[in-house]
């Protein structure tokens, strides 16, 4: 069966091409059928891959490489177009196609209206699904690649898809700008990846004759000390790439703006899948990171600080999607923290649960946005519970999972990260726990502000209505996941309480990939106390939100006044955008203007255009010699004969 794994790539590719060529003629019904069927088919393949992977003999170390065709062969160096199918890539493929399929279903309904709430024309509808299928294809290429170069192709491909989809409403300047911003900021990170791959090629790839993950990691065994110390640089560059794609400090600024894209895009690309590519990449290349402890520490700290910073910004945002965007950055920070402390399986676990509940939150927010004709300001909402009960429940479940409400998906995965962090570094743990508190607060702030209380804008409230089944129904799948997905990763300590022998299925599933990593463990009592601590913090956060926004208790107002000086800082998102503009954008622009005006326009264009003009003039002259007179033609031959004879005798 695994020999047919390429089908997983084929389906979205065919879907995208089909809709690209015939989408306009087919009409929206067939377009969505094709696009959704393609992703569903890929999901089925992913499931079959997961099943057949277990049937592999032990000697295979849980992985299977499928070479599709030779790509680059040059001397001893070869890179094939090949798939690396192992537990890690299969988990990613399942998340991408599974969550992706639900989002496709939702989008089929959601995209019937454009950003101004008018019916969307068929052409753009088809284009949307072309992009969406293309994204799935590229994301799968990224996670299923067996070598660095192919991963790079996927990496750039998802960047392109992201750019196209953020700017999908390109007639809106803000959307077009957001697309550009995402692309340019990501470019910084992508450059890091390119450099890292080149450096790896010189360090290891050249001698190994390959850039395949297995070959490179294999070559690490015999690597000299100099090579190993250079890995610090390589991993830093990889980290730079990861911070770009996964929106971490210092390259996180593009993600909030990316919310200009249609909501399904925010859910699929900018929450559930693409932004996790950085985490995946670090997990995939963990043998390199393991040899660079310095970088690991940096990864963990970047993750923790990003998590805290983004969560604090999320507390004061009033735009529903932006709250979720900052929350995504913050949650990605947790994942970075996890891989930074070496708990790769925990990182992937959190990645999986996050994909489910964050997609759920985004799609529910999309339903709200549709209901309110594009309004996303939570200050103008309130009381929506009565109007949209099902959406309310969906959002509530998502928010609870995000907040780490005990026993829900986010609770287990976040706690596992905190558990491993606790053993490594207490300061990081403290930041993580603090962030958990903020997370619980801001997620329920959103719930209470939007759905509870009295409507603050009567006009909007009057028009609000529950969305059609096509949009509401798929979300129940995600809601189910947000509640129960945690069960695949129940820690042994808890499992033991219930007499479960098989606990933490995900970790065991991923074991072949991370077999080389060993993590310390704590006594069961400690583990349980940490769990209790996390639960308490989450509940406290939720209570604070309740007291502030539902009860409107006096002491909470006092608290708020206490933090007023901080609020302005948070509302301006720590002035990072302004800082980048002043330090990077403006000086570059000045320099660019100089080069443009002087060297490009005057010097180079002068030369190039001059050459072009001369060529055209000469061409015109040459063409005019062709008069159509046979006599002249014969004369030309004669001149040629004489010339040729003369030339022959001259040289001969």
């Amino acid at each position: 069966m695994l020999n047919y794994s390429w089908l997983i790539l084929l389906f979205p590719a065919v879907g995208a091409l089909f809709n690209a060529f015939w989408g306009r003629r087919l009409g929206p019904r067939l377009v969505k059928l094709v696009a959704n069927a393609a992703v569903l088919a890929s999901f089925v393949v992913a499931v079959l891959m997961a099943i057949s992977l277990q049937a592999l003999p032990a000697s295979a170390h849980g992985q299977f490489e499928l070479t599709l065709w030779p790509w680059i062969h040059s001397g001893d160096f070869r890179v094939d177009l090949a798939m690396l199918i192992d537990p890690l890539s299969v988990v990613m493929a399942l998340v991408i196609t599974g969550v992706g399929f639900v989002i496709h279903l939702y989008a089929a309904e959601y995209m019937k209206l454009d950003d101004e709430h008018q019916p969307l024309d068929d052409r753009r509808y088809a284009r949307f699904f072309v992009y969406l299928n293309f994204f799935i294809l590229m994301m799968l290429t990224l996670v299923l690649a067996n070598n660095f170069l192919q991963m790079y192709v996927g990496w750039e491909g998802v960047g392109l898809a992201s750019y196209l989809l953020i700017g999908f409403w390109f007639h809106k300047p803000s959307a077009a700008d957001a697309g550009k911003k995402a692309f340019i900021v990501n470019r910084v990170g992508d450059f890091g990846l390119a450099l890292a791959i080149m450096w790896l090629f010189f360090l290891l790839g050249r001698d190994a004759g390959s850039l395949a993950f297995n070959d490179i990691f294999h070559a690490l065994d015999g690597a000299t000390l100099a090579v190993k110390s250079a890995l610090g640089g390589v991993t830093l560059l990889l980290l730079l790439a990861a911070t770009g794609k996964s929106a971490q400090i210092p390259l996180f600024v593009w993600l909030p703006d990316a919310m200009e894209g249609p909501t399904p895009v925010s859910a699929l690309i900018h929450a559930a899948t693409m932004v996790t590519a950085g985490v995946y990449m670090i997990a995939r290349t963990h043998p390199l990171f393991e040899l660079a402890p310095g970088t690991m520490t940096i990864v963990a700290w970047i993750g923790a600080i990003t998590a805290l910073m983004a969560a604090s910004i999320a507390m004061v945002q009033t735009d529903l999607k932006r709250i979720l965007a900052y929350s995504t950055i913050s949650q990605l920070g947790y994942m970075f923290l996890a891989v930074g402390v070496g708990a790769y399986a925990a990182g992937i676990f959190h990645l999986t649960t996050h994909a489910l509940y964050k997609a759920l939150l985004f799609l529910a927010a999309g339903s709200v946005m549709h209901a309110l004709h594009g309004e996303l300001n939570i200050d103008l909402m309130g009381g929506l519970k009565a109007k949209m009960p099902r959406t309310y429940w969906q959002f509530l479940i998502g928010a609870a999972a995000l907040a780490g409400f005990p026993l829900l998906a986010g609770f287990w995965s976040k706690d596992e990260i905190l558990y491993f962090t606790f053993q490594q570094n207490k300061a990081l743990y403290a930041i993580g726990l603090g962030t958990a508190f903020l997370t619980a607060f801001y997620s329920f702030r959103a719930v209470f502000r939007a759905f509870a209380g009295k409507p603050r804008d009567q006009h909007l409230y009057e028009h609000a209505h529950e969305q059609s089944q096509g949009m509401v129904a798929p979300l129940w799948v995600l809601a189910f996941g947000a509640v129960f997905a945690g069960l695949i990763g129940i820690p042994a300590a808890v499992g033991g309480l219930f007499g479960l022998e098989e606990s933490h299925m995900l970790e065991q599933w991923l074991h072949p990939v991370f077999a080389d990593v060993s993590l310390p463990s704590l006594p069961v009592v400690w583990e349980l106390s940490l769990l209790a601590g996390s639960s308490l913090v989450a509940l406290l956060g939720i209570y604070l939100a309740y007291a502030r926004y539902v009860q409107q208790a006096g002491w909470t107002l006092f608290l708020q006044r206490l933090f007023t000086p901080l609020q302005s800082l948070l509302e301006h998102k720590y002035y990072v955008d302004e800082l980048y503009t002043a330090v990077i954008v403006n000086p570059l622009r000045t320099l660019a203007t100089f080069f443009y005006r002087f060297s490009d326009q005057t010097l180079i264009e002068g030369i190039v255009n001059g050459l072009g003009r001369v060529t055209m003039v000469v061409g015109g002259g040459v063409a005019r010699l062709q008069s159509g007179m046979v006599g002249l033609y014969a004369l030309s031959v004669l001149v040629g004969v004489v010339g040729l004879l003369a030339l022959m005798f001259l040289v001969g």
Partner: protein, 487 residues
């Protein structure tokens, strides 16, 4: 009387094509009421196509076998077989273009296809000739057939003019060719290339003989300054004929040129410099003149002059590397050039007049009207311009590489500069297709017939595959070149 022993296996593909030509000619008289109709025409075309395919199979079957010959006049070696394959490929593609094009303006289908097949035979013989008289006769077979085919659109002034010009100038240059052969005979007492190689004096007669032979080749290859007929003829001839002869004639003439040069009796240093200068002149002239053309067919005519110039670089580079590069280029050129002509044939207004045939304006907004066709055309044009990873890119790469390897660095640079210039006129069409709106000047013959569609598809696949599998294919051709150069 002793009949000379003739090994007919040497010319199996040619015999098949000749037999097909005879069948096609007789097909006119089959059936009681032999009224010409498109169906009838298709039936004849199908017979012709089958003949071409059979001949190609025969050629493929012979690949890799040891070289055999008939009295030292015709040789069947791998070089010859690859040449046959290029010619047959071009012929088959051109035939598919004629499939629905021909019934538009004539009822003489048998004549057309019979002449067409005879031109094919002439080309195949030409590439296998190792003796000057045989070479000349096959040259004339293909030329006479092409003269008639050029003027096949009889109601057209432009077609008649083109045919007459082609005929007059062709006869003119043939005279030089046969005179050159006579001088070489005078020098060596033989017309066999082997003997010429062995006995040439290297003096006046050899030099002059070779120079005059080059004039004959130069005319067929459209080498500047023997190229003046090309734009008029390519424009006036029916587009399928133009497409076919732009590739087939070149292929035959290039291979024959290699055979003659190997036996030239004149040192490499002598003829290579002459060819380098001709190559430079041809590329530059062709590309510059193409810049200002407003007719697509004329533009492609000048472009084909330029491409002959590129391939001359390969000839200059000499036997093994140069020959395999030229062979590769011929295959690539067959796909991309005939593909481009195929699309051009769709942009021609029916019953056109020479001054208003497929103009580049006809391509306006093609992408909006037929996106797939526009993309395919863009691929052909980009390949002609030499953009990676298409066939044309690797073709040029190998030619320039051969030049650099044999020390002709300046020639390779001239070739590259020329590629840049050529990009202008290829891209101009692409820009019109993609970035302008359709207006009253745009035109597209519709519906797209299956035969034309098939031709375009084959050309497209070939253009892509030769780009993807460039390395292995070059190696394959390289063996034929090595066998030839070493013989």
């Amino acid at each position: 009387m002793n009949l000379p022993h003739i090994d007919f296996s040497v010319i199996t593909p040619e015999l098949i094509v000749i037999a097909t030509a005879l069948v096609v000619m007789l097909a006119e008289f089959v059936g009681a009421h032999a009224t010409p109709s498109p169906t009838r025409s298709h039936r004849i075309a199908l017979i012709a196509l089958l003949g071409l395919v059979l001949a190609a199979l025969a050629a493929v079957a012979g690949l890799g076998r040891a070289a055999t010959d008939i009295q030292g006049m015709l040789v069947a070696d791998d070089l010859g077989r690859y040449l046959e394959l290029v010619v047959l490929l071009a012929a088959a593609l051109g035939l598919l273009l004629a499939w629905d094009y021909l019934p538009q303006f004539t009822k003489m289908h048998s004549e057309y296809y019979a002449l067409y097949l005879l031109a094919v035979v002439g080309m195949m013989f030409m590439g296998k000739s190792t003796e000057l008289i045989t070479l000349f006769v096959s040259l004339e077979i293909l030329s006479v057939a092409l003269y008639v085919l050029t003027g096949f659109h009889r109601g057209q002034l432009a077609a008649g003019e083109a045919a007459l010009k082609y005929f007059l100038l062709g006869a003119f240059s043939s005279a030089f060719f046969i005179y050159g052969a006579a001088l070489l005979y005078g020098d060596t007492g033989s017309t066999h290339l082997v003997d010429i190689a062995a006995r040439a004096s290297g003096g006046f007669l050899t030099l002059a003989g070779l120079a005059l032979l080059l004039v004959g080749f130069g005319f067929k290859l459209a080498v500047v300054p023997f190229h003046m007929w090309t734009p008029d003829v390519y424009q006036g001839a029916p587009t399928p004929v133009t497409a076919f002869m732009s590739v087939g004639t070149k292929a035959a003439a290039f291979v024959a040129l290699f055979r003659v040069l190997q036996a030239a009796g004149v040192s490499y240093a002598t003829w290579s410099l002459v060819l380098a200068l001709l190559a430079t002149l041809t590329m530059t002239w062709g590309n510059l003149a193409a810049l200002r053309q407003s007719s697509l067919k004329r533009m492609l005519a000048y472009s084909s002059i330029a491409h002959a110039g590129y391939m001359l670089i390969g000839v200059t580079a000499g036997m093994q590397l140069g020959l395999s590069a030229v062979l590769f280029y011929l295959f690539a050129y067959a796909f991309m050039n005939i593909g481009a002509f195929a699309v051009v044939s769709l942009l021609e207004r029916p019953g056109y007049h020479a001054t208003q045939d497929a103009t580049i304006d006809a391509a306006r907004g093609l992408f909006a009207r037929k996106p797939l066709l526009a993309v395919v055309m863009a691929i052909f044009l980009l390949s002609l311009a030499g953009v990676p990873p298409l066939a044309g890119f690797f073709g040029k790469l190998y030619l320039f590489n051969a030049a650099v390897q044999s020390g002709w660095i300046w020639l390779a640079i001239v070739g590259m500069i020329n590629s840049v210039v050529s990009a202008y006129y290829y891209l101009r069409v692409t820009v019109l297709m993609f970035m302008t709106e359709a207006d009253e000047t745009s035109f597209l013959r519709s519906p797209l017939s299956n035969a034309t569609g098939l031709a375009i598809a084959v050309a497209m696949v070939g253009t892509l595959l030769l780009g993807i599998f460039a390395g292995p294919w070059l190696q394959q051709l390289g063996q034929a070149a090595l066998a030839f150069a070493g013989s």
